[in-house]
């Protein structure tokens, strides 16, 4: 058994090094072929892309196998695993550490290369080859990093009998889902970057390019949205103090590519439909992936802990920083050389669909800049002058939120404006119904929530405007009053997918905004000491502490505190927050207990026990908080509908493909 194990792990190590060699070939041969118009060389691209994916997958599976079998001769497994850990956390533990998570990063990178090789059949051969070649440069750089500076396959000569266990905070289903989702989004933008670089290298950039790229932008954006939302919910229930977004640099690192990715999604639309904004779209594609790389650097180099911590152990940080600088400077230099040569596309009036999308891009870029300065300024200031300042949530709330207000206001207008030249007054008239509906519901909601908060009503107004405004286009197009319910129903289902995609995307933003406004203004927090048998009134609820019981988990012991949650003498739910101590590390953890009522939640966490047998209890009421994450799901659904719409239209129509197949079969026969 030990012999087999070590074979598998060495096989994985070998596959990883082979992948480095293959990606070196992938970064040279196809691009060379494209520049020399040599079809034999360009034809190697898909094969090399498949091969590097297969090899990295093999390495990843070998490491996973070492985790599952608790092979502590592998240093990485020893540091981050334990035999008693449940299987799912043994698997997710693979990427719960630096080396493993970078390996997952690379796996997704080569996965996207393989996907382009597989689905890019309708791409011009040279564009496809150059794109995969550029992707090869990125994978080569990161594989070199993994092999030389961050190798997960290093072995211990004397294998210990037991591992050091995974950080208890990470022993959660959140770790199994959040990083893969986030990385697919994050790294997915690499393929968009490669498409942009390839287009610049070949000097050909047109509406067709935008059409090829858009599904990849959408796919990455969907996963990034889901990844960020999942991470936010994970932090919310795991950390135990009820926050759902902390403006932490690590969060900002994933939020910046999301903002520019959202801008890119919109500008690529203009490019595809009107052959306009080409230069800007390519620039955004470069910036988005650059921000993904920057995020990787910020998170992986230790620079966030402090500039000094980075200086103490700089090897990895410097390596990623070098990759970052080479790719950003290289692509921007290429951009600066080639962009002026691009032909100007279709023109449009300021008041038009294009104009609205330009505005969207302007504000999203400003929002990115605000987050960017807030995240990096303290680091740069400290490195330059030694002055230490802090930039936290109060700064971001003040600078970021105002930029989102015009975005929310403009969304419904943008949806209805015509391409090329729009009629703002006409659109305003069409939106009157949505406006009245918004006004009435904002006042009604404000009144229902207590009626004493004018800012909340204004906030509700912006969010509800986005909600009703985004759905208004559907209502407007169905023409229920004119055509009657039967035909309206048919029209409803016959609406183009783009209409649904936009409406749901914008609806999601509105729902998230509504959740944020409501929970920030109206959440309540109660901290108190409760004794067994005691009942206290908390807001509209009665809470009884029934006592606690000790319980033994697979790799921890916990003390569960039981509470009854009642309202008007009606039993609602038994809450059971716990305090755990993990056996291997002796680390304490507190697990929250959350119950949903509609979109609102009641949230329990327990702290210390007092000497007289009481327990410190925190109880939050979070009105409409679930809308924050539901909004993200709705947004992603909108993106998904947009993507399947693309897939239907991209490339050769089906009958032609069938014909071609028949011809080929005929030729073969």
């Amino acid at each position: 058994m030990p012999y087999e194990n070590s074979m598998i792990i060495e096989l994985g190590h070998y596959a990883l090094i082979l992948a480095l060699v293959v990606s070196a070939l992938q970064s040279v041969l196809p691009v060379w072929g494209a520049l020399k118009h040599d079809t034999r060389l360009t034809a190697t691209a898909p094969t090399l892309a498949y091969l590097s994916f297969a090899l990295v997958l093999l390495a990843f599976l070998a490491l996973t196998h070492a985790y599952i079998t608790s092979d502590f001769s592998v240093f990485n497994v020893f540091e981050n695993s334990h035999t008693d850990k449940p299987l799912i956390y043994k698997i997710s533990g693979v990427w719960g550490n630096h080396e493993g998570s970078i390996l997952l990063w690379v796996l997704i990178l080569v996965l996207f290369g393989a996907l382009v090789a597989a689905f890019g059949k309708n791409l011009p051969a040279e564009l496809k080859a150059t794109t995969l070649g550029t992707q090869g440069w990125v994978s080569f750089a990161f594989l070199l990093f993994v092999v030389t500076a961050s190798n997960p396959f290093l072995r211990l000569e004397q294998p210990p009998v037991q591992g050091q266990d995974l950080n208890p905070m990470l022993q959660d289903i959140g770790l199994a889902i959040h990083p893969p989702l986030l990385y697919i989004g994050y790294v997915g933008f690499s393929i968009v970057f490669s498409f942009a670089s390839a287009a610049l290298l070949l000097g050909r950039l047109d509406a067709a390019w935008a059409r090829w790229v858009r599904p990849w932008v959408l796919a990455s954006w969907i996963f990034l949205t889901l990844g960020i939302a999942m991470g936010s919910y994970w932090a919310y229930y795991e950390l135990g103090w009820g926050g759902w977004w902390f403006w932490d640099p690590v969060e900002n690192a994933s939020f910046m590519p999301w903002l520019t990715g959202t801008a890119l999604m919109h500008s690529a639309l203009v490019m595809e439909k009107r052959d306009s904004l080409k230069v800007w779209t390519v620039f955004l594609a470069i910036v988005t992936f650059s921000l993904s790389l920057l995020g990787t650097f910020l998170v992986r180099s230790g620079v966030l802990t402090s500039v000094h911590a980075f200086a103490v152990d700089p090897a990895r940080g410097i390596f990623i920083l070098t990759i970052l600088i080479i790719f950003i400077c290289g692509s921007l230099a290429l951009f600066a050389m080639r962009a002026p040569l691009l032909r100007k596309g279709g023109i449009f009036a300021p008041i038009s669909r294009e104009g609205a999308l330009v505005m969207n891009n302007l504000f999203l870029t400003t929002a990115t800049a605000a987050v960017f300065f807030g995240t990096l300024y303290p680091l740069i200031l400290e490195a330059a002058t030694g002055d230490k300042i802090s930039v936290g949530a109060p700064f971001f709330n003040l600078t970021f939120a105002p930029i989102m207000v015009p975005v929310l206001i403009m969304m419904p207008f943008g949806q209805l404006l015509a391409w090329k030249r729009g009629d703002l007054w006409g659109v305003t008239q069409r939106l009157t119904g949505a406006f009245v509906l918004t006004l009435l519901s904002a006042i009604a909601l404000g009144w229902w929530m207590g009626g004493n908060h004018i800012f909340a009503v204004i906030g509700f107004g912006f969010a509800l405007w986005a909600i009703f405004g985004s759905l208004w286009e559907i209502w407007d197009r169905v023409q229920l009053k004119k055509v009657g319910p039967v035909r309206a129903w048919k029209r409803f289902w016959g609406l183009p997918k783009t209409v649904w995609s936009t409406a749901l995307g914008h609806l999601g933003i509105g729902l998230t905004a509504l959740g944020i406004v409501t929970t920030s203004v109206y959440e309540t927090e109660t901290v108190l000491v409760m004794k067994p048998g005691e009942t206290r009134q908390i807001g509209e609820y009665d809470v009884t502490y029934k006592g606690n019981r000790d319980h033994e988990g697979p790799n921890y012991v916990e003390r569960v505190a039981y509470f009854d949650l009642k309202q008007d003498n009606k039993f609602l739910h038994e809450m059971a927050p716990t305090k755990r101590v993990y056996n291997a590390s002796g680390r304490p953890m507190s697990e929250t207990s959350i119950v949903s009522f509609g979109f609102s939640q009641v949230y329990f966490a327990v702290g210390d026990e007092t000497e007289d047998g009481g327990i410190v209890t925190r109880i939050y009421h979070k009105p409409l908080i679930l809308l924050i994450w539901i909004g993200c799901l709705v947004m992603s659904l909108g993106g998904f509908i947009g993507m399947i719409d693309r897939r239907l239209r991209v490339g050769a129509p089906k009958p032609a493909q069938k014909q071609r197949k028949k011809q080929q079969q005929g030729a073969a026969a």
Binding site: G96, N167, F246, P249, T366, A370, P588, G607
Partner: protein, 160 residues
């Protein structure tokens, strides 16, 4: 003391590692720290949200369970009880711990770029868009006909 694992980079982890660095089971604000006057306590909470727990990473003293954060929370409440205004409490903390304690930096020369960076980008964008729109308008307007072209046009009409 457990060294925080700086290499683990998912959202929760940064908080988590610091949680373990000061491994106590207490959650942030405890009932025994609170002021009896709910109005003053509310003010203390609001101030605490703007003060950084200086040994933590990006956590306010309101959220943190570190010992130092607890000391600071008590200090904030003492200053409030002594009759300080919110600004005076913050000034007091800055005098003792430096500007590092403020989660929202002051608007000063060395934070100028931080504060105006976003608005400057917006301004540059607007100026660029306006000039581009003007240029486009100028370019798209047809050039007036030259004298020679007018003559040619008239000749064409005459021939008809």
């Amino acid at each position: 003391m457990i060294k925080p694992k700086k290499t683990q980079g998912f959202i929760a982890v940064l908080f988590a590692s610091l949680w373990f660095l000061f491994a106590q089971q207490a959650l942030a604000v405890n009932p025994d720290e609170m002021l009896s006057d709910p109005k003053l306590e509310q003010r203390a909470r609001e101030i605490s949200k703007e003060v950084r727990c200086v040994v933590c990473q990006n956590q306010s003293i309101d959220d943190s369970n570190a010992k130092l954060a607890k000391d600071l929370r008590i200090l904030v409440r003492e200053r409030i009880k002594a009759g300080d205004s919110d600004q005076q409490v913050l000034n007091y903390l800055v005098d003792r711990y430096g500007e590092f304690v403020l989660l929202k930096p002051r608007f000063e020369l060395h934070t100028l770029l931080l504060w105006i960076g976003g608005p400057v980008i917006l301004l540059i964008g607007i100026v660029f868009l306006i000039s581009a729109a003007r240029k486009r308008k100028r370019d798209s307007e047809p050039m007036p006909l030259s004298e020679k072209e007018k003559e040619e046009l008239e000749d064409l009409f005459k021939n008809e």
